[in-house]
Symmetry: C2
Subunit: 290 residues, 2 copies
């Protein structure tokens, strides 16, 4: 299954999941759907499913968990874009959620997506009771939390305009983006009941991939194609954000990103299964232009 | 175990849970703790534990789930108070979270508490794997979500200054407050492996109690003691909010509240166990002055 086909499948699952729901609260569904359908590459759910597919073929079973992860990612974007946070008007080339629905509904739509992700995960675990499934959901939930994605976000926000140490910058990036990407891979392996040795390799792979992904994001923010990115480039620079590029410079970042990608590929070689599609995805993430 | 003792136990659990946590992200812990420790009556966790106690005595075991519910309640208050929502400066007599920590951190602290509640629930289920435990957490998570508490909040926000139907008002209140209170009771019974007949009775009890609680809230907003409430009375009226009192008048509301309370007590009589403490709590909630 190619990336693009999988993306379509995820898009469809998300599209139908919310349809015809809601009564007096219809606007919250419209608002959540709006941001979910605004596109995005669906990298996290695809990574989860491709990792799962190393071990098992019945990936349709875990679509609800993969889409829960996408909901968590989407909620974080809605809240990040709020006027009190990054104050962005555009996301993926479309008006941000609060520009369309107002701030109050945008806050609630973010809350709703995070909450719906939990609903999906609890439902999955109820219908497929096992320690591994619960571990997978725990990994996702913790990666999203105050010692994961939210930690990265808070360190980012409180340090705008301030110069932070390399250590703090790494902490911020590993948490803000890396944790959720890592959780996609680790949870995919757990849901597939992969051997603990493989899970440990995939943990390391996920960490490196997450970091490479964020460095690439910072690079694209400086040299990327605004049209493809669907947002203004140099937006981080304009906001006086701490980024890898502002800290280490462009060339060093490109080198870091390539080295991490090579290390990712070497780690996948240690898994005695067919990891071709994950390797392709790793290279895609490095070479992407948006 | 009396209500006050149980409240202390919950306060202590919450106080120690977050202590010494965080590194670069310390401010998010401070912000979450600030709102968690701002007091409150801890009605939801106490209701859960008292319901559990009808069947089992080892209530300390479920303190993490009870406190997860309090975290969900607290996150909803932080987000409700935001300038783009109810724009409140005071909560329980203290400055609201965003007044202390700024809007960005307040948004993230709310997100963090909702997320931490999920972490606690997944951890509990991993360490105590059973269908009933997963059902209990599902009940809580759904009650908090877009067809529960968030639905009530969104209907409230989008209808400020508009006259809504009785049906919509009930929908709003049942969801905004009632669902979480009902979930406290139903999850307490599920965690204790209560018989399905009892669970059905307790569902009905929880529904009526939740509604009575919200009507009482509306009454207190009009005639309550501002000092005890820790907020300005008539705040709903000032904001042109739809409330039971604005719809049905004060006398009718008092009558409704008393009738619901009587129905609650009758339902508890159908349970062939000692429900004295839940009855006391029901009466306390009716007679409270703050």
């Amino acid at each position: 299954m190619k990336m693009n086909n999988m993306k379509c499948e995820i898009d469809n699952w998300l599209k139908t999941y919310f349809s015809d729901k809601g009564t007096y609260n219809k606007i919250i569904y419209e608002s959540m759907e709006y941001s979910l359908e605004a596109g995005g590459k669906r990298i996290r759910p695809i990574l989860m499913i491709f990792t799962y597919n190393i071990y098992k073929r019945d990936y349709k079973k875990i679509l609800p968990i993969a889409c829960a992860l996408e909901m968590i990612h989407t909620y974080s974007l809605i809240h990040d874009d709020l006027p009190c946070m990054d104050d962005d008007d555009l996301r993926r080339g479309k008006p941000t959620n609060h520009k369309m629905f107002g701030e109050a509904v945008a806050v609630l739509a973010g809350d709703g997506l995070l909450n719906e992700a939990s609903n999906l995960m609890f439902d999955y675990c109820r219908n497929n009771i096992s320690k591994n499934n619960l571990d997978a959901c725990t990994v996702i939930s913790k990666a999203a939390g105050v010692d994961g994605m939210i930690a990265g976000q808070v360190v980012d926000i409180i340090n705008e305009g301030k110069d932070i140490s390399e250590e703090e910058l790494c902490y911020m990036h590993i948490n803000k983006t890396g944790q959720l990407i890592k959780s996609a891979i680790v949870s995919g392996a757990l849901l597939a009941n992969a051997h603990v040795n493989d899970i440990n390799i995939l943990k390391e792979f996920g960490e490196k991939l997450g970091l490479a992904f964020q460095i690439k994001d910072d690079i694209l923010d400086v040299i990327g194609n605004a049209e493809l990115l669907g947002k203004n480039i140099k937006s981080d620079d304009n906001k006086d954000k701490n980024t890898f590029v502002s800290k280490f410079g462009l060339e060093k970042c490109k080198e870091l990103c390539e080295n991490l990608t090579l290390e990712c590929l070497e780690l996948l070689d240690k898994i005695l299964k067919d990891t071709k599609i994950l390797k392709e995805m790793t290279l895609f993430l490095l070479k992407r232009e948006f």
